[in-house]
Every structure is written in C-alpha cells, then in structure tokens.
C-alpha cells in the first residue's frame, strides 16, 4: 500500500558548438570580457533583424538523425514573451508549435554488467532557440550588472516524455544524452561553463493512477546535483502527500549546499508567455537533400559501434559499452588495436578500460590528453602477447611511457633491460643462488610450511628483478625442492 511511483521528464538545454550566434554574426567563444561579443542584434537595438545561422540548423538535423527522430520539413520560430534585463528584446526567439525535431529516443542502460537493463527514453521534441544574457547581482551599488555575451547563443532544447521512474534512470539518460551530443560534435558538453543544463519535471503517483502534479527543478548543471535534487524532491512530495497535503505546480531551485529544493517566488503570470510566430523570421525549410547530406556526414553512432565491437572483435557487451562511452575512447581503442593486431582486442580493451582509465581518472585527465598514445599502448599490448614482457613488467613500462621515458614500449624495454628471461638455464642458476642464500626458508618448507614456498618465489622473482615468468619460476622451484 505504501508504494509510490516516481515520474520524471527532463528538458535539457544543449549549447550548440557553432562559431557565431544563432541570429547574428557575433562570436560565441567562452570567457570574453563582458559585452564585447554582444552586437546590435544581441543587445536588441531598434531596427535590427535576426538572420538564422545554418550551422545551428545543421546541429539540430544531426541530433534528429542520431535519435531516429522526424526532421520537420517546415518549422517555425516563435516569440516567447517575458521581461527580464538579460533578455533585451523582451522576448526569446524559440520554437513552439512546429519544432525542428519531433520524436526519437535515446537508449539508456540501468545497472551494471550482467544485471544491466536497457530502456529507450522517448523524446517529445527538440527545438532551436537563443540563450539569454547573464545577470550579475553582486556589488554594483545596489544595481545588477548585465553581460550580454551569451545572449543569442544557439541552444537545442531537448524534451523527453515523462518516462523515467527513478533518479538513477534520469542520470543514466542525462549521461547518455551528454555522451551523444559530444559524440556527434554538436556540443562541447562543458557543464561548468553551462553548455549542458538539465531541468527535471518530477511528480509521484500511486501505480495505475493518473500523473500527479509536477514541480520543475531548474538548471541542474551536474549529474550529481540532478540525482540529489530529484531524490530530495521525491521524498518531499511523498512526505507532503502522506501528511495529507497537496502539491502545487511550481518551479523550484536546488541548493547544492543544503541539498534541498525550494520554490522560486513566482508571480501568477510568470508563465503567460504569449507565444506567437516571429514575424521577423520566415519558416525554416529543410529539404531531403539537406538531410541526406547531413546523414552522409554522420559518424558511426555509439550503439552501432558497440554492436560492431562485439561482433567484429568478440568483446563482451559490457566492455564494448565502456569503450563506446565517448567517441574519444572508441577512437583510442581502435587506434591501439590497429597497432597491436586484431587478435588482441580483449587485452587492448582491458588496458583502455582498466589501467589507462584508472590512471586518467586519478590524474583528472581526459583520454584525449593521455600522455600514453594509442599507438604506444597498442605496442605495449603486443609485447605482452608475444611474451617479451610479463604483465607486471608491462605496468612498469606503462608508467615509463606515461612519464615520457621513451617513445615506444620497445624502446623502454631495451633501454631499461626489461625483457622477460625465458632461458630456463639462466632462471635455474638464479634459483640455485636463492636457495643457497635462504637455507632457513628451504628448511621451513621441507618441514611442511607452504608459506615458505611463496616467500621463496618472492625471493626468486626479486633476483630476476621481475623479469622471469612467474609461472616458470614456480615450476622450476617446485621441481628443485621436490
């Protein structure tokens, strides 16, 4: 009886990586001095007219193709009217009744490994619009400072159906969308700079009942905040309803410091936007030829690549998913594999997703900025496979490559004398020395202490400076002691 179902829909503002703004020729580069990238159109001087950026439309088409959506042959820009100082026209140019992208879906994976479940998050629409400027409220003698550099930056607002049922699903969706827009090159994905911002519509209901009243959590710019904000909001709504209260539709903000959501003070007419078609802009017409050109320029998409990695290289779905988490990772893997050789897909995958990923993570680097190149890693994997070095020595070589001690695994192996000793005679000689020097341990082993054997293996490996094959050392040692 105590069951509540959580219902979540997400709206994401994706900043498109065009060079210029959506309706003007001003630059969109981040971090410029205030207002130097705000031209007459962006600051809404009287008499100016918007001219639509083809690059922004290209991004919308790419997105539509990537999610299997319908690209509207004709879409219309509308004015969304509201007053705020960082919106100098008094309206935002957006799309309302006829958006450029309709439908489509994004597959997400919930859970890890064997227990992972796949689900499609259906999209309602995606539409083009312009961003507003920025208000700075601190310290201008009781006034607000306005920077309009961001005004007119192209956004694609991507809206899902209310199909997510937990904060984990919401985060999985946001991550999948984030990876996809970077993959197809329409957004840099920089969340600190506001290039990817999520609003979450959250409600709860008893299973089988109609949707509950929703509250919208605005402007979540990290996956962690998205999760925390939804979890808090859900608990709050359930507690309110179970205490006999009701939920009022509202816009709320998440405070990362307290971990709470709180309603914005909203005037009764806050949402009366009085949309109407913008008379300054004609309908946007996208013909089949344009869509065909965009389709031809699309990279292989994450799921197709994942399935190909499974089919072509015999990788597990889990490994292939890890490798296709970003285009950079997938490219890195393929480049490493090209050097290592097609038979070494599994070890290449392991090195990329385990050793390299851990090191990059520890040092806070992206794979694109890895000090160990894909070709270097591929060369290293090949030397393990052909027995030149052991796995443990390989970790040493990897560190050396990371620190720039040589241009290739081969060079480091030669220069530092790390080649594996496979000559049985040489190993036997070393083992004889170890046995002679550790008579006490030998005696312990002969008295039945198995632990002493491991200590002797350790000593022998030390004597070979790790360059002997541990398996071989084990066998030889046991034979000699036997």
């Amino acid at each position: 009886m105590n069951q509540w179902e959580i219902v979540i829909g997400i709206e994401t503002h994706v900043q498109l990586s065009t060079r210029s703004k959506i309706f003007s020729g001003a630059s969109t580069a981040f971090g410029a001095a205030p207002n130097v990238q705000a031209c007459a159109v962006d600051i809404a001087l009287p008499g100016v007219l918007p001219v639509l950026n083809k690059g922004a439309v290209d991004c919308a088409i790419r997105f539509g193709l990537a999610v299997g959506a319908r690209i509207a042959p004709k879409s219309v820009f509308a004015r969304k009217n509201y007053f705020y100082p960082d919106l100098p026209k008094g309206y935002q140019i957006s799309q309302y009744e006829l958006p450029v992208v309709l439908g489509g879906g994004i597959p997400i994976q919930i859970g890890q490994g064997e227990n992972a479940v796949e689900k499609i998050v259906e999209l309602t629409r995606a539409h083009l619009e312009e961003d507003a400027g920025k208000s700075l409220h601190e310290d201008f003698h009781g006034k607000s400072g306005i920077d309009l550099n961001r005004a007119g930056t192209p956004l694609l607002e991507i809206v899902t159906e209310p199909v997510m049922r937990s904060s984990a699903e919401a985060v999985a969706y946001a991550r999948a969308l984030h990876a996809l827009v970077r993959w197809i090159g329409i957004c840099d994905g920089n969340m600190q700079e506001g290039s990817f911002r999520c609003d979450a519509n959250v409600s709860v209901r008893r299973p089988g009942q109609p949707f509950g009243t929703r509250r919208e959590i605005k402007n979540l710019n990290s996956f962690r905040f998205l999760q925390q904000a939804i979890d808090y909001e859900v608990q709050w709504q359930i507690a309110t309803l179970e205490d006999g209260g009701t939920i009022q539709q509202a816009t709320v903000l998440f405070d990362p410091d307290s971990g709470e959501t709180r309603a914005m003070r909203s005037k009764e007419d806050a949402h009366d936007y009085r949309y109407f078609p913008d008379p300054d802009l004609l309908p946007l017409v996208i013909d089949d030829a344009w869509i065909a050109r965009a389709r031809a320029a699309m990279p292989e998409l994450p799921l197709a690549k994942r399935d190909r990695f499974v089919a072509e290289h015999g990788l597990s779905t889990y490994d292939a998913s890890q490798l296709t988490a970003s285009l950079e990772t997938a490219d890195y893997f393929e480049a490493a594999l090209a050097v290592a050789g097609p038979a070494l897909a599994k070890p290449c995958a392991n090195w990329v997703t385990v050793d390299l990923a851990a090191r990059l993570n520890r040092e806070g680097r992206e794979i694109g900025a890895s000090p160990v190149s894909a070709a270097q890693l591929g060369g290293l994997v090949a030397r393990i496979a052909d027995g030149t070095i052991s796995n443990s020595i390989a970790k040493k070589v990897f560190d050396a490559l990371w620190n720039g001690e040589g241009a290739s695994a081969d060079e480091i192996i030669e220069k530092q004398g790390l080649r594996q000793i496979t000559d049985t005679g040489a190993i036997e000689a070393l083992i004889d020395e170890v046995l002679a020097a550790n008579a006490a341990m030998v005696a312990e082993f002969k008295a039945g202490k198995e632990k002493a054997f491991n200590a002797l293996v350790g000593q022998a490996m030390k004597a070979t400076r790790g360059k002997a094959n541990p398996q071989q050392v084990n066998e030889l040692l046991r034979r000699k002691l036997g």
Binding site: S20, A26, N35, L52, K54, D58, N81, P85, S144
Partner: protein, 95 residues
C-alpha cells in the same frame, strides 16, 4: 468574443504598459472592434487550407556560420544610461 476591462488591465500589465481607467476603457473598445473583424474572418470556411506562418509563402534565408561582427562595446555603451566594468547596469532584479 469581447474583453472585460479586467482582461485589458491584465494584458497591459503583461506588456508592462501603464494605463489609466479612461485608457483601459478606450483600449477595450478598440480591441473589441478588432475582435469583431477577426470574427468576420473566422466565418470564412478554411477547411482543407493549411495555415501559413507568414504572409508570404517563402522560406527563411540562412547565414553561413561565420563570425562577422567586431567589438563595438564602446559605441553601444556610450548611449547606455549606466555602465561599469563593461557591464550594463540596471535596477536590481532578483527572483
């Protein structure tokens, strides 16, 4: 359809236009006159006619994605009521 004075006041408020009672009355009469015109047009049978988004049946011309604007902040801010550190200053607004 006709508007009440209350609706006229609300529309004026949304558009941030200050109007007196007399102006609200006059505006209501004018708007109701416009509604009468619209009602006449709505009497036309438009079944099977696709709505247009613009008076002319032409498509939007597009611009190549190139930066063509230069920094003209100094000129723009010369006519602004108040600026500081490159910012336009406005009465404080916090929601």
């Amino acid at each position: 359809m006709s508007l009440t004075q209350e609706q006229v006041r609300r529309i004026a408020h949304l558009a941030r236009i200050e109007i007196s009672d007399a102006e609200a009355d006059a505006t209501r009469d004018q708007l109701n006159g416009i509604f009468a015109l619209i009602e006449e047009m709505q009497a036309v049978d438009t079944r099977g006619v696709a709505p247009m988004a613009h008076a002319q049946e032409v498509a939007q011309r597009l611009r190549e994605d190139r930066v063509t604007e230069t920094d003209q902040r100094t000129d723009f801010q010369a006519i602004a009521p108040e600026t500081e550190a490159g910012l336009y200053l406005v009465p404080k607004v916090i929601e």
